[in-house]
């Protein structure tokens, strides 16, 4: 039983090592690009939708409802980035479960041992992929913060010289942004990688029937993790773009609700 935490390099191109999970990520990206091009040029959008258009509309309106619940008027602007996060992570998670991914490969003989190198490996089962997604997510949070608050109000959250306590809170805010990156990347990587290890171990223990149950579980976990990544990014963006006054307003509303009930 061979389990490797790091993705294995397949070949190097101009000094850049192409790992098997990078290859999978490219493949998933390619699927999305091909679908987008196909849908844009081959499917004529009509008032009475066809089967494919109906399906796409279902997905988009589902996202729209979900996002509108948290960030009402910003929903239209946030939909593309959040839906991309969800769909990309979902497909990366599920691609790792396709039979053949992680099992078809070749053996490489290094100095003193033979190691098995699979051609494909689940994209999110590599910390580099999830770290990149997490960094991108946190950067987009900052960008929307600047956009909705203005640069002056935005930077005030991190560098506040009005009092020593506020200054210290600002430093804590900076650290909390970095800890968000770590928790984002480790949550996604841990769940997907642990799922792969679980499946491997289960197949070694009982090769019949039982792994199918865990496959179902992993499909569910992949969906939930993609949803969580999207919802957390959404919540962070809407928190960052509301600022201090918005927070007080929300508190006020909460108090009103509490008083009424």
């Amino acid at each position: 039983m061979h389990i490797s935490i790091a993705a294995e390099p397949l070949f190097s191109f101009l000094g850049l090592q192409i790992t098997n999970s990078l290859l999978t990520s490219w493949l998933v990206t390619l699927i999305f690009v091909i679908f987008a091009i196909y849908f844009h040029f081959r499917v004529d959008v009509k008032m009475i939708p066809g089967k494919l258009q109906n399906f796409v509309e279902l997905i988009v309106s589902g996202f729209d409802g979900l996002i509108r619940d948290v960030a009402d008027e910003k929903a239209e602007e946030l939909l593309p980035i959040l839906a991309t996060f969800f769909l990309y992570i979902l497909f990366l998670n599920w691609f790792g479960l396709v039979p053949g991914v992680g099992s078809i490969g070749f053996t490489e003989i290094t100095h003193h041992e033979e190691i098995f190198v699979p051609i494909f490996r689940g994209g999110t089962a590599d910390l580099n992929t999830t770290l990149a997604l997490a960094i991108f997510s946190i950067i987009s949070v900052q960008v929307y913060g600047i956009k909705y608050l203005g640069f002056k109000n935005f930077i005030k959250k991190y560098i506040d010289l009005s009092s020593p306590i506020n200054f210290f809170v600002g430093i804590l805010e900076v650290f909390s942004e970095f800890s968000k990156i770590i928790s984002f990347s480790f949550r996604l990587f841990g769940n997907v990688f642990a799922g792969e290890v679980l499946l491997t171990v289960m197949i070694f223990l009982i090769p019949f029937v039982l792994p199918a149950v865990f496959y179902g579980l992993e499909l569910f976990v992949g969906l939930i993790q993609a949803l969580i990544f999207m919802m957390l990014t959404l919540v962070f963006i809407s928190a960052a773009s509301e600022g201090h006054d918005g927070g007080h307003e929300a508190d006020h509303e909460l108090k009103e609700v509490a008083e009424v009930s």
């Binding site: 935490i5 480790f186 949550r187 841990g190 290890v197 993790q225 969580i228």
Partner: protein, 72 residues
């Protein structure tokens, strides 16, 4: 005694205590809520699954550390 053999097991065992408690508590509260208001079962289930995934993440962190200790 070989400490390296015990360390991964202890990591996940200790790291799993509080998430297990948290998930149990959440599920208990959610069931209570569904019992009080059965019509709200759908939204409660959705938020419950989201909240469980957050608590589970803590256990997953220790699982990652256990796996790193074991295989690296």
């Amino acid at each position: 005694m070989d400490l390296a053999a015990i360390a991964p097991g202890l990591t996940i065992a200790i790291g799993g205590i509080m998430p297990a408690y948290a998930i149990g508590k959440m599920a208990a509260k959610a069931m209570e809520a569904i019992g009080r208001n059965p019509e709200a079962a759908g939204p409660i289930r959705t938020t419950l699954i989201l909240a469980i995934a957050f608590a589970e993440a803590i256990a997953i962190y220790s699982l990652v550390i256990a796996l790193i200790l074991k295989f690296v």
